[in-house]
């Protein structure tokens, strides 16, 4: 009796998943694999090999790879510091990290625009103290900065979660047996935190690869990422077929990174929340 009731409770989520995930996905495949006259074609998917599209895909891959690596380099030490805090204190620090995420992502990106502009806040302060100005707005550097800023929490939290779960006795045992701190880190901490790292990489890489807002706002629309190409096909060129076709290509990349994370993180240890 009780289990039946619980089954019914899941109904809203099933409706949600069908209505907002499965049907839209099917529509993407339908549009991506047909032409204007509803005939089957794979030309929309193959269009990725056009010079413009392949170039924007490569730039997007490069920028998201760079920002993922930088995110990882920043996040790992940070997660270690956070996990070494006493219970209670760490919650406060985590809160500080999550706090910006309560604000709208668009607004935060727009704020970076105001900060980075040539006559913006950072440069005004720099010129007041007679330091050279930084001119990175409307360049790929600003896009990378925007990606790192926006997606950093997604890297910190999974790594922090796995680090917290590491049994302190393992570390003590390693020290007992004569390993120094570096050996302990390499042999115990790092291998045990791989699920968190992989999960963090997916959580940063996928949104960075597909973003179009960050490159629009911080890149001055001068750099076309694959996300921008797709967005423009939908909003400006009214070519939903090509836009969907290119989305299918992007989905392949997303599925690959999800597979990798599934292989390394079998027990779902690196889940963010």
């Amino acid at each position: 009796m009780k289990s039946k009731f619980i089954k019914w409770l899941s109904l809203p989520y099933i409706i949600w998943a069908i209505g907002f995930i499965i049907i839209p996905l099917l529509m993407v495949f339908y549009f991506g694999l047909t032409d204007k006259n509803s005939h089957f074609t794979i030309s929309n998917v193959l269009a990725i090999f056009q010079p413009i599209h392949i170039k924007s895909l490569l730039i997007a891959l490069l920028l998201s790879l760079i920002s993922t690596i930088i995110c990882l380099l920043i996040s790992y030490p940070l997660a270690m510091i956070l996990s070494s805090f006493k219970k209670g204190n760490d919650k406060m620090m985590i809160l500080i990290f999550i706090l910006p995420m309560w604000m709208n992502f668009l607004l935060r990106t727009l704020a970076w625009q105001t900060l980075l502009e040539n006559e913006g806040i950072i440069n005004t302060v720099l010129s007041l103290v007679k330091l050279p100005s930084i001119n990175i707005i409307n360049t790929p550097y600003a896009i990378i900065l925007g990606m790192i800023y926006n997606f950093l929490p997604f890297m910190v939290l999974p790594i922090y979660n796995v680090l917290c779960k590491i049994d302190g006795n393992l570390l003590n045992a390693s020290r007992d047996l004569g390993a120094n701190e570096i050996q302990t880190f390499c042999k115990i901490t790092l291998p045990l935190s791989v699920p968190g790292i992989i999960s963090g990489i997916t959580m940063v890489f996928v949104p960075a690869l597909t973003t179009f807002v960050i490159s629009d706002l911080l890149g001055g629309s001068k750099i076309l990422l694959i996300g921008n190409v797709i967005e423009q096909e939908f909003t400006l060129n009214s070519n939903w077929h090509l836009g969907s076709g290119l989305s299918i290509v992007l989905m392949i990349f997303i599925v690959i990174s999800m597979l990798i994370s599934a292989i390394f993180d079998k027990d779902g240890e690196g889940n963010t929340f």
């Binding site: 413009i52 629309s221 001068k222 921008n228 423009q232 400006l236 060129n237 009214s238």
Partner: protein
């Protein structure tokens, strides 16, 4: 007991807004789809109070973004405010309803010459009522530029590297390159378009950013020296930053009209016409002009303007007979659109 009290309080707070303080709109509603910041919000409120019609108001950034939404019919808009060439496209694709001019008596306040220009895209003036008009020109900052800017070709000058803001919309960007080369902005000749594309590519390293609405704030904030801008934004930016000057380039430019149209599948056609009629009332058109600073084709409203400087302002009400090579955009058909879009994508991806 305390739980019960809390529950009661919550319940009252939830139900309370349903009673009393809500406004009533006994004459239904009208769905309006307009450009961003293209109406005085007070005007909407005044209309709602006077006609007891609720206005559901949405905004778009470019004609190209508006069209797919209207075509897909996702939200059933009644009144939309597209530009000339887009109106032509909507007429050709049978998206617009013919207006009943008897319901829009105030439309006679609109100057005769604007109906004449409208004939170019709306033959017989069946579908559209002009709302704003203007040109596309150059706005420059006299603090950052030591010579008068008069020509499009100055946007290709190396010394303004990283100081130029271009329009991030296909037609406006190509128009600049086409006029630079003396071509028509409605050309679909592949050779001419290729030359225009090469010009834009050559210019790209000098461009600070491709923007649409942001050009206004960036120019006010001294972020760039030169920007391509719609004339209507010029008055507003000058109000905020007196170093800015607007010019219509010598090579010629685009003269545009944005007009109200009613969609064919509109469910509130009469309300839509009431809304258009209300906006054509001289006092309302004037109030609107003060807010959005885009030139109004409403001659009765123009007569009401006190400030002689504004009445003869180059930006808001230019004397077009002084200029050569002015053109209005035409709809170029699906193939023409595709040609432009693909070339624009090449420019952007370089």
């Amino acid at each position: 007991m305390r739980k019960l009290f809390l529950f009661g309080l919550l319940a009252t707070l939830t139900i309370l807004p349903l009673f009393g303080c809500g406004k009533t709109y006994e004459n239904g509603e009208v769905y309006v789809y307009n450009w961003g910041e293209y109406i005085d919000p007070d005007v909407i409120k005044m209309f709602e109070e006077e006609y007891k019609i609720q206005v559901i108001y949405d905004e778009f950034e470019t004609n190209e973004m508006m069209y797919p939404k209207v075509e897909a019919n996702a939200v059933q808009y009644d009144v939309v405010c597209p530009s000339d060439y887009m109106i032509q496209k909507m007429i050709e694709n049978d998206l617009l309803a013919e207006l009943n001019w008897d319901n829009i008596p105030n439309s006679t306040n609109i100057g005769e010459q604007f109906y004449l220009t409208s004939e170019e895209f709306d033959p017989g003036n069946k579908y559209s009522v002009p709302y704003c008009w203007g040109t596309v020109g150059i706005l420059y900052n006299t603090d950052k530029v030591d010579e008068p800017i008069t020509k499009w070709s100055q946007l290709w000058d190396e010394k303004y590297k990283n100081q130029i803001l271009m329009q991030n919309s296909v037609r406006d960007a190509f128009m600049v390159a086409q006029k630079l080369n003396g071509f028509s902005m409605n050309s679909v000749d592949p050779d001419e378009l290729k030359i225009a594309k090469d010009c834009l590519l050559e210019q790209k390293p000098l461009v600070q950013a491709y923007v649409v609405d942001q050009v206004r704030d960036k120019m006010i904030g001294n972020e760039a020296a030169i920007g391509v801008i719609y004339s209507g934004e010029a008055l507003y930016t000058q109000r905020e930053n007196e170093k800015l000057i607007y010019v219509i380039p010598e090579e010629g430019t685009n003269v545009w009209i944005d007009s109200w149209v009613v969609l064919k599948n509109s469910k509130n056609k009469e309300n839509a016409e009431k809304f258009i009629n209300f906006l054509c009332r001289p006092d309302i058109a004037l109030k609107n002009f003060d807010y959005i600073t885009y030139g109004t084709p409403n001659t009765a409203a123009w007569d009401l303007i006190d400030d002689e400087d504004i009445k003869s302002s180059e930006a808001a009400f230019p004397d077009l007979s002084k200029y050569n090579n002015l053109e209005t955009y035409h709809y170029l058909g699906e193939e023409g659109d595709e040609l432009y879009n693909n070339l624009w994508k090449e420019v952007k991806s370089e």
